[in-house]
Symmetry: C4
Subunit: 325 residues, 4 copies
C-alpha cells in the first residue's frame, strides 16, 4: 500500500481507502462489513470513511463493531465521520452546521462507533445559514475536547474553505486540513481548477469520493441498468439519468481499449487515474464483498503504468463528458 | 411554526417562544407548567426562556421537570437562563456579573434544571460595577467548559453590547450572539433606533420580551384592573400606573378596530406586530393555561395579513403612547 | 460593613478582612480560629486571607475546617492563598514561581482547605529566576482549570506587575487583578507613589497587610516588648528593632492624642487611616480572640470622622518615621 | 549538587542528570535500576531522562517502578520522555510527530510510567513530513491537558527550533523551552555555533546527551573494544568505527595527562568540560551500577578546577577530532 500525507498535515492515509456509503446496512450485514474491512486492512488500507447520515447511523454502528471484532490497535487506523444532514427533521438538526447540532452530533457518533475519539470529522456540506466562524469554533472546540483529531469539509467551495482557514488563523483555532470532493474522470473541474491555489496556500488535502462516478465508470451500465446493481436499488432512481447519459457511456466505451491494453478493469483504470493527481491524499472506494475490495486494490498496480501519454488518451476519451464547474 | 435564525448565528428558534416569567410557581404548579409546555411543543415552539431569578429558582426546577416528563430529545429544544439578580443579598451574588457569581450561578442553574448544558445564557442586566471584559471572559469560560452553547445580554445598551463583542473579537473569545430587550408597540426605540447598526455589524439577534406591554396590549385593563389578572397579583402594584396610563389605554382602544378587521384578538395583533420586525428572532410569550398558549400561537396566522398599510395605521394609533428612549 | 471592588474587578470584598498569618496554629487552635472567623463573619467580613506558607500549611487546614464548621455558603465568602515560599527545601519548591511548583502548590492547597476552588491566588513574592511569562501562563492555566477565580501578586514592583499584565493582554490570558503590599502609616511610598499609574492604567486593586506595622502602631510596644505580645514570640526576634525604633515610637506617641480625640484606640486609628486610601480594596487584620476581631471592626466607625485635617495631623505626627521606597 | 535553570524557564534541574538510554532493560533489571536511581537521588540528581523508544517502553516501566519504590515526592523530581520513533511500524506511529501519534504516545507513556504527568516531553527528532505548526499545537494541547509541564526538541536544527517558537508566540501556545543535543569534546559545533543566537533570543535550555561520545572519551576503547563494554553489545556494531576512530583515540590519549593532573578520570574530565558551558542546563549521564553513578558525580568536583587555561589545552588536544557541523 502507498501512504500519502493528508494534505500538508502529518497524518498518513492509505492511497486507497474504504468508505461505507450505501453499502452498509442497506446492502451489508455485520459479517460482510467485517469481512470487507478485514480484506481492506490486509491490503494495507488504514482509512475508513463514514458519516452520521450513512444508513441513518447504522453504518457507524456496524463499522464500530467490526473494528472491535478485528481487535485493531486504535493508533493504527483512521476513522472519520461527517455531519450536516442530521438524523431528524428538527430545524437544529437537519441541514445545519450550527454549534448546537455539531456538539451533540459528535457525541452521538462516538456512542454509535463505541470510540473515544474520531480521527477526522467533516462538515458534510456548506451551510449558508450558519456563519463559518460559528462552525470553525465548534470544530475547534470538538478537537480541543479530544473528541476528534483533524477537521475538514466536504463539497465546500474554494472560497468557503479559504474563509474557514482564515478565521482559524486569525482566532488561533484548529484549521481545516482536508476536503472531501467528488472526483472522477467526469467530475474534475473543482479539484483541478477551483481548488488550485489552496494546495500551496493552505496545504489542503483531498479524500475524494465517487471515483467510479456512481458506477458509470465500471462499464456495468453500458447496456442499461442490471437488476443486481446499485442503480437498481429502491431510492436510487435519481441516479438513472446520469448512469445512462449518452456522452458518459460513449466515454466509457472509449476508455475500454485503454483498460484492455493495461490488462485491468475499467474500475481499476478509473481509480488509478484519480491517484495520479498528487493533491489526492486518498481515493475512497466502496465494496459489498471482500473479493471486490481485493479487486479495487489492484488499481495500485495500474498506477505506475499510467504514464502521461495514456492519461492524455483518457482525457481525449472523456472530453465530451466532463461536467462544467 | 416559523423558525428564525438567532441573529447571525446558525441556531434556529421558533418565531414564537414560551417564557416562564411570573407564571411559573407564583401562578403555576408542575402539572400546569407541563401542559403549557406540551401545548407549546405541539405548536412547534422550540425555545423556552427562563432565568435564575424567576420565582427564585423554582421556575427552572419546574421547567426541568416538565422537560423530563415530556421525554423530549435534548437536541430538539432550546432552553435559556439569565443571571444578574442573584438569589441572596450577598454583595457577590446580588446585582452582579462578576466571575465569581457567574460561574457558580450557572452550576446552580444546571442543578435546578437537571441539565448538562443550557443552550442560551443571558447577562440579565448590565453591571456597571464589573468590567465588561471580566463578564465576557466568564461567559467564554462557561461555554468553553460545555455548560452553555451561546451567550447574550438583556437590556444592555448598544454601546455595552458592542464593547463586549469587540473585547471577544480582540481576545478570541466567544462573542455575544443575542440581546433580550423589551419590545412592543409602546417600547420600541431601542430595538428600532439604538440597536440599528448592530444588526449588520455584529449580527445581533433579538429574543424580545413583553410583547403585550405587561398585559396593557391585551385590552384587559381598559376598564381598570380585573381581580383575576396579573396586575392584581400581590407584589405587582408597581405595574398599575403603566397599565392604566391614559395615553396607552387610548392607543389600545384605537387598535381594537384593526384587530377586529383582521378577525383576531388585540394580543394576537400585538404579537404579530413584533414578528414583522426582521431583526426579531423570537417573541417570548407567556401563558398560565394550555388554551392560552394555543391562542397566542394564532398570532402567526395574523402575521401574513399585517401589511405595510395596516402597520402604518397601528403606528398612528400608538403614536402618542410610545416611550422615549 | 462596607464592601469595595477588588480594583477594577467586579468582586466585592469587605473593607476589613481577616488574615491568618502568624495567629493560626502558632497561637490559635481550631476552636479559637472558628470563633474569630465567626466573629468576623458576623461583622460582615467576607474575605479571608491565607497562604501556603502560614504555619506550614496548618493555617489553610484550620481555616478550611472552620469554614465547614460554620456551614458557610461557598458563594458568600472569598478565600485566598499565596504561593512562593514552598513547604520544602527542594529547588523547585522553595522560593519559586515556576510552572511545576505553582500547579502542584495549588492542588496541595485545595486539599488542605478541602475546597474545589480558591477565590484569589497570589504570587507571594516576585521570583527573579522564573520568567514572568511562565508565571502568567501558570496562573492562567490554574484559573482556566477552575481551581481559582482571580490572581494577583504580593510585594511585586510596579514594573513587574505591569509586565505581567502586558503579557496577559498580548497572549489573551487572565490578567493580574490585585497586589498585596504592606501598607501602613510608616510604609506607604510604594502604594502611594510607585503604584500611582497602575490604578487607572490596569485597575489594580490592593489587599493591604500589616496595617499596624507588626503591632508597632498598637502602642503596645511603647514601653518595650511585653511578655505576652507577638514580638515576644520565639522566632520573631527580627521584629524587635523595628518595634522599638525610636522614630516610630515617637510617631506613635504623637498619634495617641488624635486617637483620644476620636475616642478610639491607636489600632483603630491606624486601620481607619489605611481605609481612607480609595485604592485600598481591603485592609487585612489579624486577631487571636473573637473580642479582638470586634475591636478591629470599630475602625469602620472611625473612618467617617477621619477628615482631611485630621489626616494631615497624622501625616505630621509620622513624618520622621516613614520608610523610604 | 548544583542546580541550573532549564534555559530561561524557572525549572531547576541538577547539573548532572541520569538517563536511562541503553542501560535499562537491555543491561539492567529492576533492582539495579532502583539502586542507580537511589544513588543519583542521594547525590542530588533531580532529573531523570527517558524516552518511549528506550528498550521499547521497558525503560519507562522500570523507571516508573523505581520512582514508586523510592517513595519519592512527585514535586521533587523531574522526569522526561521523548516521542518520534514509535513502537510499531505503522505509518502514523513510526518516525512521526503528527497529532495522532503524539496524543496517544503521551497517554501510553504515562501508563507505562504510572504517572499523572511528565515534567518534560521532547520531540525526539525533527519530522520533515509533519508541519511544525501541527507539532507545536499537539505539544500545547498535551501541556494544556495537564499531561506534561514543559516541551522541547531533540536534535532539531536552530531554524526548526526558532520556527516552532515563532509559531507558538504568534498563536499564543506553549513555547519550546529546551533542546536535547549531543554535546561532547568531539561534537560541539551545533551547541556552540548553530544555536548561538537562540540562547539570548528565546532562552533555549540544553539537556545534553552523550558527554562521553558513546564511551570513546572514557578511554576504555584505546586498545580496541573490550568484551564487557557497550561497544561489544549485539546491535551496537554501528558504533565501532566511531569508537576506534584514529583521530579520536589520539585526542583521548592527549587528554589523559590533563585528567591525571586534576586527579580525575577521563570520564569525569569530559563531563566537567560539558558543564563549563553556561548554556548547558544539565549533562545526562548513564550508569549500570550505583558505584558508577557515584563516580560520574565527581565531575562536579572537577568543574571548579577546570580553568580557561586547562580548557584551552583540552581544545588543543581534541582539535583534529571535532566533527564538522
Amino acid at each position: 500500500m502507498e501512504y500519502r500525507r493528508l494534505g500538508r498535515s502529518g497524518l498518513k492515509v492509505s492511497a486507497l481507502s474504504f468508505g461505507s456509503w450505501v453499502t452498509y446496512s442497506n446492502q451489508l450485514d455485520g459479517k460482510q462489513a467485517r469481512e470487507c474491512m478485514a480484506a481492506a486492512r490486509d491490503a494495507g488500507v488504514n482509512f475508513f470513511d463514514n458519516a452520521e447520515g450513512y444508513a441513518a447511523g447504522e453504518s457507524e454502528r456496524l463499522m464500530g463493531q467490526a473494528l472491535r471484532d478485528l481487535r485493531w490497535t486504535r493508533e493504527h487506523y483512521v476513522v472519520s465521520s461527517k455531519f450536516f444532514w442530521g438524523l431528524s427533521d428538527d430545524p437544529n438538526v437537519r441541514h445545519t452546521l450550527n454549534r448546537k447540532y455539531l456538539l451533540s452530533a459528535v457525541d452521538n457518533s462516538l456512542k454509535r462507533f463505541g470510540l473515544d475519539y474520531l480521527d477526522l470529522i467533516f462538515c458534510h456540506r456548506p451551510d449558508p445559514n450558519t456563519p463559518i466562524e460559528e462552525t470553525v469554533w465548534a470544530m475547534h472546540d470538538i478537537i480541543n475536547r479530544g473528541k476528534a483529531l483533524y477537521w475538514g469539509t466536504s463539497e465546500w467551495s474554494a472560497g468557503q474553505i479559504r474563509t474557514a482557514w482564515d478565521i482559524a488563523e486569525r482566532h488561533h483555532l484548529h484549521k481545516p486540513v482536508m476536503e472531501q470532493p467528488q472526483y472522477n474522470l467526469f467530475v474534475r473541474q473543482r479539484v483541478e481548477q477551483e481548488f488550485a491555489t489552496l494546495y500551496a496556500d493552505i496545504g489542503l488535502g483531498l479524500t475524494v469520493w465517487s471515483p467510479l462516478a456512481s458506477g458509470a465508470l465500471t462499464g456495468k451500465y453500458l447496456a442499461g441498468i442490471p437488476k443486481d446493481s446499485r442503480g437498481a436499488l429502491k431510492g436510487y432512481e435519481w441516479l438513472h439519468e446520469r448512469l445512462l447519459d449518452e456522452k458518459r457511456t460513449a466515454a466509457v466505451r472509449a476508455l475500454k481499449p485503454i483498460a484492455d491494453e493495461l490488462g485491468c478493469t475499467l474500475s481499476q483504470l478509473a481509480i488509478a487515474w484519480c491517484l495520479r493527481n498528487p493533491h489526492v491524499s486518498t481515493v475512497i472506494t466502496g465494496a459489498s464483498r471482500a473479493a471486490q475490495v481485493v479487486e479495487n486494490m489492484k488499481a495500485l498496480d495500474v498506477l505506475p503504468k499510467l504514464d502521461d501519454a495514456l492519461a492524455a488518451r483518457m482525457d481525449a476519451a472523456c472530453a465530451g463528458a466532463i461536467d462544467a464547474l
